[in-house]
């Protein structure tokens, strides 16, 4: 009986000794795959593009950050989301609205990629979404943890927004 107990204890000890080795290896693999920064392709010929992103944050996480141009919805940025939108070269004015309206003036040039970050600031009643110019380095730092909003999702969202009006 003692021998059986010793063998059983040895088996458990072996299992415990092996499992910590295999788990971190898996975790590392997972971490490596999620740490890869998003590679943004060049914009379509003759157009420029803007990468709108919103890093994940506890502050105002339930609030949306709807980016509009001339009142038309370009896309909504949920917590930890991003999307890429191509634009014709020229001046563009983007807005986001809650308690107050925040405006961002941009001049888009063909072949260029721009980055715009949405953050939620403190408001009197509710949080205030703020769209601000950003850069590739900031996006690269956060992009591994961001989730892409596809063109299909954006189009559905735009159609829904247009129907409301």
């Amino acid at each position: 009986m003692k021998r059986v107990k010793i063998i059983a204890l040895a088996a458990v000890a072996t299992a415990l000794a092996v499992s910590p080795v295999s788990t971190p290896a898996f975790a590392k693999e997972k971490a490596a795959s999620t740490k890869t920064a998003v590679v943004v392709e060049a914009p379509p010929a003759g157009q420029g593009q803007v990468v709108f992103f919103r890093p994940g944050s506890m502050m105002g996480m339930a609030l949306g950050c709807n980016v509009r141009e001339n009142g038309k919805l370009i896309g909504g940025l949920g917590n930890g989301k991003y999307f890429i939108q191509a634009f014709q070269p020229g001046k563009h004015v983007f807005t986001t609205h809650s308690e107050t309206t925040d405006t961002l003036n941009m001049e888009i040039e063909s072949g260029e990629t721009y980055y715009v970050k949405c953050g939620i600031g403190m408001g009197v009643v509710a949080g205030r979404p703020n769209i601000a110019p950003s850069d590739k380095a900031t996006f690269d730092e956060k992009s591994a943890k961001l989730k892409l909003k596809t063109i299909d999702q954006l189009e559905k969202e735009r159609a829904k927004d247009a129907a409301k009006k």
Binding site: T103, M106, E107, G121, V124, R128, A132, P133, K136
Partner: protein
């Protein structure tokens, strides 16, 4: 018979005269005779050619106005085949695209600027793709947009203003030519690039 010879001589005269006139034009220039100097030399600077510039005017997200023009200057000469086409120091203009001052609730200052043109001997060289920094490789994709860092950590943040964006005078930047530009320079103005 004499009349026929006289007529033939009369007919032959213009041909002889023409031949005498054209002969010197065909003859190669002998030693000591120089060709007329080339007065003008046109050089085409291609679109998207990177240029090193500096922002010579201090800019601030609090005081800058959208549409405001500011001064820029060429930092390094534009050269083609070792010849200086536009010397360093050529001046031009940039423009403020977006400016927003820092506000309460930790909203940071924002500033977006663009390079418009350089001027050289009456020719405007249009610019685009302004990027901060002196990196001419084009890898620096920071863009010409700066937002100051904002600190939002507590309810008190509502009364904390974010930082303003300050661009000091002399800040290096790069831009690109937005289109092909034809520069006509007199031969005497073309200089060999001086390499240190």
């Amino acid at each position: 018979m004499k009349r026929y010879f006289f007529c033939a001589w009369l007919l032959a005269m213009p041909a002889i005269a023409l031949g005498q006139e054209s002969a010197p034009a065909i003859a190669p220039a002998g030693p000591g005779i120089s060709q007329p100097p080339v007065v003008d030399d046109a050089v085409i600077l291609p679109a998207m050619l990177p240029v090193s510039i500096e922002i010579t005017e201090a800019l601030n997200s609090k005081t800058s106005k959208i549409g405001q023009l500011f001064d820029i200057r060429l930092r390094a000469p534009i050269t083609v085949d070792g010849k200086v086409i536009i010397p360093a120091g050529a001046t031009g203009k940039g423009q403020v695209i977006h400016a927003a001052r820092a506000r309460a609730a930790g909203k940071a200052g924002e500033l977006i600027i663009a390079a418009r043109y350089l001027e050289h001997e009456g020719v405007r060289v249009p610019l685009r793709s302004l990027k901060y920094g002196a990196d001419m490789t084009g890898d620096n994709n920071a863009g010409a947009a700066i937002v100051a860092s904002a600190a939002i950590s507590s309810a008190l943040a509502l009364f904390i203003t974010g930082g303003q964006v300050d661009i000091p005078a002399g800040m290096p930047a790069t831009a690109k030519l937005s289109q092909d530009v034809r520069i006509i320079q007199s031969g005497s103005n073309l200089q060999e690039e001086v390499k240190p």
